[in-house]
């Protein structure tokens, strides 16, 4: 119960945070006029009919950036505890952190050399 009380704030916040902004939408839905028609609801495309499927294939580039992002995001999760305890650790902790960052910076250098970062 004690731990529940501690985390209750975040729990209630997560429930309430989407509800608060949803209130004006619901309110607008109640009091605003509802006169839908086919033209009003058509997809916006500068006045012409949409051609083909909307969910088109996307550029390979975005996928590669996503992959590099994943590497660094995971690295970050490991670096947070290191930075947290850094004050109490000795100089070896710096070398360990340096090695870790160096190994993962390799990925960036590799991607750079392989011209993944060139926008084509």
């Amino acid at each position: 119960m004690e731990i529940l009380n501690q985390w209750a704030f975040i729990g209630i916040f997560f429930v309430l945070a989407p509800i608060l902004p949803a209130v004006p939408i619901i309110l607008a839905g109640v009091i605003s006029p509802k006169k839908p028609n086919a033209i009003k609801q058509s997809t916006y495309e500068c006045g012409v009919e949409t051609v083909g499927d909307t969910w088109v294939q996307f550029k390979m580039q975005y996928y590669l950036y996503g992959l590099i992002f994943l590497i660094f995001d995971v690295e970050m999760v490991f670096l947070f505890p290191w930075a947290l305890a850094y004050k109490q650790l000795d100089f070896a902790a710096f070398l360990a952190g340096l090695l870790f960052i160096f190994l993962l910076s390799d990925a960036l250098v590799y991607a750079w050399r392989k011209k993944v970062l060139e926008w084509v």
Partner: protein, 409 residues
């Protein structure tokens, strides 16, 4: 038990007057949540007016000046107008996800406020992993963008979203690397501890480069300033929110306005001492802490507005190159340098002695070392960039067919 400080002792007071303990606890926490969550929403109403006025003055216009004195009531008039607007859902849209996206956008910003220390004794929740919590809830925004664009069944929206997601996830990396530096200096991820660690000296003097990196990448995270590619009107009509109208569209914008100010608050908490004022006055009058925090946040917010209005938009390839080839390497080198100097300072005994951490004078030696390190690194980066651009210029002029006059001699 005294029942004068109602905010902190609501639950005990309710129990005293005969309430069930669990229910009293729930009510007090619930009211706390409502208080913390509505505060940024109310601030946003004022910000909308201020931002419009500020942008107008920069562009040599008057801005809102009809509704109320100085147009102060304009946001309220807008809300009333927006409430009367029809909710249009495009025919091909995925209705559930389409409607979830706008509240999710606001939610991603609101959740950050749960861990921000407002005054020395008032904080939503002093989470031990506050910094990590911020990084994780902030990425809800990316989710909201992809929800909005994918569900609205529009090619412009989808093309906009591809860019936005690439931009938002890319700039999260220098943001988090810059965030690591205050965590490292304070030795804690809790935002309260980070604030208290700055009682002697603000981190912006110890780590100016990290503050700059955090500022630039948070500007990109909001999709503001020179990085507003997600709503590049000239290319994508409106970007990811093209199919939204009325109140739903307004919520995307409210979320953006709030995000900019929240970034200012985060800059204040992480780098300029949050609620800490002059001479510890905020400890005797806690509410003054909130005033100090908002003042500092407002200065960062003004800077963000100035950057937004003064700089032209960058191209998408420039945007990605700036992040991956400049910000990410610089933030990594900056982190390594700060870690190294911080350890050196500790080993040499320049760090303030135990018990003196909050003393201004005791903090001066280590601040000087760290600041000098930042200046040297900054100059180094500038010279590398300058040489790089000079080489590029020379290569380009060598390639060009037009021989400059006098070059053939």
């Amino acid at each position: 038990m005294q029942c004068d400080n109602i905010i902190n002792t609501l639950a005990p007071c309710l129990v005293q007057s005969g309430w069930n303990g669990d229910l009293a606890n729930f009510i007090s926490i619930f009211l706390g949540v409502v208080l913390v969550a509505t505060f940024p929403l109310l601030v946003t109403i004022g910000l909308i007016w201020f931002e419009r006025k500020f942008a107008a003055r920069i562009q040599d216009r008057m801005g809102p000046n009809r509704v109320g004195p100085f147009g102060l009531l304009q946001p309220f008039a807008d809300v009333i107008k927006l409430l009367g607007k029809e909710n249009i859902t495009p025919a091909g849209a995925d209705k559930v996800i389409y409607n979830i996206a706008p509240p999710l956008m606001v939610m991603s910003v609101l959740l950050i406020w749960a861990v921000i220390p407002l005054t020395p004794i008032h904080v939503g929740m002093d989470l031990e992993i506050g910094a990590l919590y911020f990084v994780s809830v902030a990425s809800f925004g990316t989710l909201a963008v992809i929800f909005a664009s994918w569900s609205s069944n529009n090619k412009y929206a989808l093309l906009g979203a591809f860019r936005v997601v690439a931009q938002l996830i890319s700039y999260e990396i220098p943001l988090a690397f810059a965030l690591l530096v205050p965590v490292l200096l304070a030795g804690s991820m809790s935002l309260v501890d980070i604030t208290n660690a700055q009682a002697g000296m603000w981190f912006v003097f110890m780590a100016p480069l990290s503050a700059l990196l955090f500022f630039v990448s948070s500007q990109a995270e909001t999709g503001r300033g020179p990085f507003d590619l997600l709503e590049a009107e000239s290319e994508l009509v409106a970007g990811f929110n093209i199919e939204y109208s009325g109140m739903k569209f307004a919520l995307f914008f409210a979320g953006e306005f709030m995000h900019v100010f929240t970034n200012g608050v985060l800059m204040a908490v992480l780098f300029t001492g949050g609620y800490i004022g002059i001479g510890g006055i905020e400890n005797s009058i806690p509410l003054l802490g909130l005033v100090f925090l908002l003042l500092k946040a407002f200065v960062w917010y003004l800077l963000a507005l100035l950057v937004r209005n003064a700089l032209p938009r960058v191209r998408i390839d420039q945007l990605m190159n700036f992040n991956w080839k400049f910000l990410v390497p610089v933030s990594i080198v900056n982190l390594v340098m700060m870690a190294f100097l911080f350890k050196v300072v500790q080993e040499l005994g320049l760090a303030p002695a135990p018990g003196l951490e909050n003393d201004f004078v005791a903090n001066i030696p280590q601040t000087l070392v760290l600041f000098a390190g930042n200046v040297v690194l900054g100059l180094l980066i500038l010279s590398v960039v300058r040489q790089n651009f000079r080489r590029e210029r020379l290569e380009e002029s060598a390639k060009s067919a037009i021989v400059p006059v006098g070059a053939g001699d």
